[in-house]
Amino acid sequence: MPSTTPILRRLLRPTRPRLSPQPRPPRPPPSSSSSTTTPPHTNTPPNGGATGTPAPSWVGHPLRLILTTLKFVAFTHLLWEYVISMAPASGPSMLPTFEVLGEWLLVSKLHRFGRGVAVGDVVAYNIPINDEVGVKRVLGLPGDYVLMETPADHHGADGGVGAGAGVGSQGGGGGSMIQVPKGHCWIVGDNLVASRDSRYFGPVPLALIRGKVIATVRPFSEFRWIDNALRKADSPDED
């Protein structure tokens, strides 16, 4: 085992501080031979890191390089999982908010588990019935009330857009509703005819929410923030 001790010693030796404010003076030649033999604790951190190699000490040994890479990868992955991430999205379920192809979505992972998500936000979530990730709009949070099906069809039933789209015409109180259970949310795609969402698999546990979609990016051409679609309407009895 004698061959492993220098390796261990080199690993345990303090690294050269990367934030050191003053430029390093050129190392005097005789100290190089002694610095390798002296125990690590007698070295002062700023000057003791250098051996005979010109490269910084943190790339000095392959094992150390691997460890540094590992730490960096872990850190980046945590950032990606817990702070922000970006991923391509495709499919017609969120037309016209997102096009069928070529959208890259910026997802805030700070909103994972539905933290700080409001009705009208777009979220990325783990689809509860398969292994994929979906992007849909939140229409209900725990305790809210939502329609279980698609709202009464306008252009089909009433024969034309806008002709009978008023609320009164579809009245009669049709449709069943549901109260979203605690810990769950109700999500529906913007394109109601081509979306498999809560109308199909029911309320989704908030624990499956990966994050909130905050922007869409088309590489080299477009950057657009995604805002909450819920718009305030003037209530008649307030004015």
Binding site: P17, L19, L70, A74, G183, P205
Partner: protein
């Protein structure tokens, strides 16, 4: 921030600042190991205490007469793949995403489970991608409360009991008898 401050004062020189500089240097060096550790705990394996009586008497058998809690190894790598009836799994509680829960898998997709109260229906079919989970004990808030859970909620499997020593060892989930009243799909 403290480290940054220490570095700033180190530049000013002096014996005390040299000490501070060394301390902050070591702090920074060891702090770089925090992300890999968090990452390992989140995605590979974690040792954790099991709270509550829901898996009594399999886990926490002394729930009634001591405060001691079992320490278990939870394996998280590929946790959602190859799930079988009898496995003890850890998952995010469907009623509260900030809580994790330990239960045993009773039904797989396609199974029809004869439920226990307070479930409103006598039988429940487990939908695709879902699991029926129940605790071994009586005091268990499980699928009989919140219905079948999505397998995507599963974060890990309890593979070993670490402490107490007399029961330490591998969790032999395959030796656990399957619950009666489950019509198995396959």
């Amino acid at each position: 921030m403290a480290a940054r401050w220490a570095w700033g004062s180190a530049a000013a020189g002096g014996q005390r600042s040299k000490f501070l500089r060394q301390v902050s240097h070591y702090l920074i060096r060891y702090a770089t190991w925090i992300p890999p550790l968090i990452w390992f705990n989140a995605y590979v394996a974690q040792v954790t205490f099991i709270r509550g009586p829901s898996m009594y008497p399999f886990l926490n058998p002394h729930y009634n007469d001591s405060l001691r809690e079992d320490l278990c190894l939870v394996w998280k790598l590929y946790a959602q793949e190859g799930l079988r009836r009898g496995m003890v799994v850890v998952f995010r509680n469907p009623y509260d995403p900030n809580k994790t829960t330990v239960k045993r898998i009773v039904g797989l997709p396609g199974d029809v489970v004869r439920t226990k109260p307070p479930y409103p229906y006598e039988h429940a079919a487990v939908p695709e991608g879902h699991l029926w989970v129940e605790g071994d004990g009586d005091k268990s808030q499980d699928s009989n409360y919140y219905g079948p859970i999505s397998a995507r909620l599963v974060t890990g499997r309890v593979t070993h009991v670490v402490s107490p020593w007399e029961r330490a060892g591998r969790v032999r989930w395959w030796e656990h008898p399957l619950r009666a009243g489950v019509h198995r799909a396959a």
